[in-house]
């Protein structure tokens, strides 16, 4: 009979032999090292016999008691593997044995616990690509996205206008073209609005809506900015044809945003003005819940 201990999930099974073993052909060193683990003492004398009245059977003599030999792990391959893993762990190495033995390029990285298929792309790339998508044609939108990134790579470095400052801490403009993802993210994040104005119907009294500013999360801010940019792009007349023409228009608008020429900045300013004005309504009794 063998018992199993299972200290870690990957150390698959560790069978303990309770009867004395005849011989262990395999790994003598491993077995001696494992003896310390096996010394539990619980499985030795757990059974009790009822005393028998029959005299023919002599009572067990205590003098002849021999201590049972230490239980040793059964010499099968599962135990050998598990013991090797334990030894590795004791030596401070990786217990899982994922150093890629037999693999040409090592083990691939394990996906993290919360990683999903969608995490394949950068969040900005993924969001903008899905916003570019029309009629569910994701592959076409991805093609557009890569053409946009290549447009940003090949267009000359932008001249950032001091009137429309970009996000603080942004790299110099000459660094942007060779890092098109940063270029795109910087343009979108810089022009994204900080607040939106929520209309609370009838709360101002007299059937009038009460305008309340509301802060936006990063993803929502980016979404609004991209939709504004897309509005401009779709209104712009195409001067080219072929598959790169949409990407060129979009890329030109991104460059215009970074250079401060884009009309998207005015939209942002309008929203900010409205939101700043509507801040007064936050102390409105209908919102704060206080009486006058």
């Amino acid at each position: 009979m063998s018992a199993k201990i299972n200290p870690w999930g990957s150390v698959r099974s560790l069978a303990i032999r309770t009867r004395p073993t005849r011989s262990c052909p395999g790994r003598p060193g491993a077995l001696t090292a494992a003896a310390a683990v096996a010394r539990r003492g619980l499985t030795h004398d757990t059974t009790t016999r009822p005393p028998s009245d029959d005299a023919s059977i002599p009572p067990p003599s205590t003098a002849e008691y021999e201590a049972k030999p230490l239980e040793i792990f059964a010499p099968n391959f599962l135990n050998a593997e598990a013991l090797a893993a334990l030894e590795q762990a004791a030596a401070g190495q990786d217990m899982y044995g994922e150093d890629g033995e037999g693999l040409k390029f090592g083990m691939p990285e394990r996906p993290g616990k919360h990683e999903q298929l969608q995490d394949r792309y950068h969040p900005v790339i993924e969001q903008v690509t899905k916003l570019l998508m029309r009629d569910g044609k994701l592959s076409k939108a991805q093609r557009h996205m890569s053409l946009i990134l290549n447009f940003l790579r090949t267009s000359p470095a932008p001249k950032v206008s001091p009137l429309r400052p970009l996000l603080p801490g942004s790299p110099p403009a000459s660094h942007l073209p060779l890092n098109p993802l940063l270029y795109l993210t910087l343009a979108i994040d810089s022009v994204a609005p900080l607040v939106r104005v929520k209309n609370m119907k009838g709360m101002a009294g007299g059937g009038q809506a009460l305008e309340l500013p509301e802060p936006l999360a990063a993803r929502a801010r980016r979404r609004i900015a991209v939709m504004w940019i897309l509005d401009v792009v779709n209104r712009k007349k195409s001067t080219g044809s072929g598959r790169a023409q949409f990407a060129t228009r979009f890329g030109q608008e991104i460059v215009a945003v970074v250079e401060g020429r884009s009309s998207v900045w005015d939209k942002r300013q309008m929203i900010h003005k409205l939101g700043t004005g509507a801040r007064a309504n936050l102390s409105h009794p209908a919102v704060s819940g206080r009486r006058k």
Partner: protein
């Protein structure tokens, strides 16, 4: 318009005053002009003549009867040809990309050197100009991402260049068809062959897109006393390209024949460059081009490289119609017949020549005749006996005998993916240019090579240069 709010935060001017009083004191303590003034409006009203009394005050609410007038489009519409020019634009440099130092230039020596396999080399500037003139660069290729045009010397390049130069050195004719999978680099191989021709100072004639000749997109006319048709406008363009790309070589050759039948006067001491540049009249184009071709085929002239991209388009019945409204076979078009005869080995080239036909896989009609002819040519090239050569389908009626004639005895170069060694040097070039933001090690090279279906170059570019995964 002056902004009242801060651009980055939501602070108002009053708050900004509180935040930074030092910077605002000069402006706020000493106002020089009023914040609001109606003087300009008043001045405008007084100069315009009317007093303003008779004008309709509520202009915004005037009653409008009838249909609304649609506002004209304010945007400038693109001019004729502008949209196509955008699509076909070829950009050969990108000032943002980094300069890759230490790369050799392409020479006539290293293109035939087996030791140079796997190197990325730059194309010399004058060869770039010549290649651009004969339209060897295509708009679908990614030249525009890098600082200057560079290309990979692969095994097939050296193989092909060796065959070309050996045949020309022996004054033979090499007739070769480049086939291969979609995106495996056939057109780039054709470009490398053209570059070899320019570096070796051959006369290079290139037809960049065969489909321009057969899809009834250019003008055509009958040729007097023959069953052929000429495409005069295209031939004028081609002659100018030949003159511009091969000018120095052609100007060293003199006209040797009498061309009495030509409508222009051609004298014996004219150079061939002058001959081909003699006319821009479409009606004289075909006779002049024929005279030029005859002159080129005289002994003692430089070797010829005649290349064409998109072979399948000239191996079928064209979209043109004869005066009897019957479809014209492509080989009845003058220029196409010239190429087909050269490829089929009917034209003798006493000075050595290389006739190169590049197939295209993305844009090509399905032609059983051409497939079978190339299959047979490949079998013969591989050393098959006469009975082992694949036979034609006995139950297919529509085989085109002229296609088999045009492809008889050609050499077939089948292009596959690059090796991992070549892929690595290419990816190192991309990374050194700053376009590919990735550590180029064995694992990543192997990764991209495998993703690209075993090193198919267009797919490698797609997974490396058109990748939208975050690699930063």
């Amino acid at each position: 318009m002056a902004s009242t709010n801060c651009w980055r935060c939501l602070a108002r001017p009053s708050q900004r005053l509180l935040l930074a009083p030092a910077s605002m004191t000069a402006a706020s303590s000493n106002p020089t002009s009023a914040a609001f003034s109606t003087s300009t409006q008043l001045a405008a009203r007084s100069t315009s003549g009317d007093t303003g009394m008779s004008r309709h005050i509520r202009t915004g609410k005037r009653l409008i009867l009838g249909k609304k007038k649609r506002q004209g489009d304010k945007h400038k519409t693109p001019g004729p040809g502008e949209r196509k020019a955008f699509r076909k634009r070829i950009q050969l440099s990108n000032d943002n990309a980094l300069v890759v130092p230490g790369l050799a230039e392409l020479t006539a020596q290293n293109v035939v050197d087996p030791g140079a396999v796997g190197q990325v080399v730059g194309i010399p500037v004058d060869v770039v100009d010549q290649l651009r003139t004969c339209e060897a660069f295509k708009s679908t290729q990614n030249w525009g991402l890098f600082r200057s045009p560079h290309m990979l010397i692969r095994k097939e390049t050296v193989d092909m260049a060796q065959q070309l130069t050996d045949a020309v050195a022996k004054k033979e004719t090499l007739r070769m068809v480049v086939t291969g999978d979609r995106g495996s680099g056939k057109s780039i191989l054709g470009l490398q062959a053209l570059a070899t021709g320019f570096l070796n100072k051959w006369v290079v004639i290139n037809i960049p897109e065969a489909q321009e000749l057969t899809t009834a997109a250019t003008e055509y006319s009958t040729v007097h006393n023959s069953d052929m048709f000429s495409q005069p406008v295209y031939i004028v363009k081609l002659m100018q390209a030949i003159h511009k790309a091969n000018g120095p070589i052609l100007s060293q050759c003199r006209v040797e024949l009498d061309h009495m039948q030509l409508p222009i006067s051609v004298t014996r001491n004219m150079s061939l460059a002058a001959l081909i540049n003699a006319t821009k009249e479409p009606e004289f184009a075909w006779p002049v081009f024929q005279a030029f071709w005859k002159e080129l085929l005289r002994p003692g002239r430089p070797p010829i490289m005649f290349a064409l991209d998109g072979l399948a388009h000239i191996m079928r019945v064209s979209d043109y119609r004869s005066p009897a409204f019957e479809l014209i076979h492509s080989h009845d078009l003058g220029l196409v017949r010239m190429f087909a005869e050269a490829l089929g080995g009917k034209t003798p080239f006493p000075n050595g020549a290389a006739v190169l036909a590049v197939c295209s896989r993305g844009n090509a009609p399905i032609l059983p005749s051409m497939d079978k002819a190339l299959e047979q040519a490949a079998a013969i090239q591989a050393g098959a006996k006469a009975e082992e050569v694949p036979l034609r389908d006995a139950f297919y009626r529509k085989y085109d005998e002229r296609v088999f004639e045009a492809l008889r005895g050609v050499r077939v170069l089948d292009v596959r993916g690059v090796t991992k060694h070549e892929a690595r040097s290419l990816m190192e070039y991309w990374a050194a240019s700053g376009v590919l933001r990735l550590r180029v090690d064995e694992k990543n090279v192997s990764d991209r090579w495998t993703l690209a279906g075993g090193g198919v170059l267009a797919e490698m570019e797609r997974v490396s240069l058109y990748d939208i995964r975050a690699t930063v």
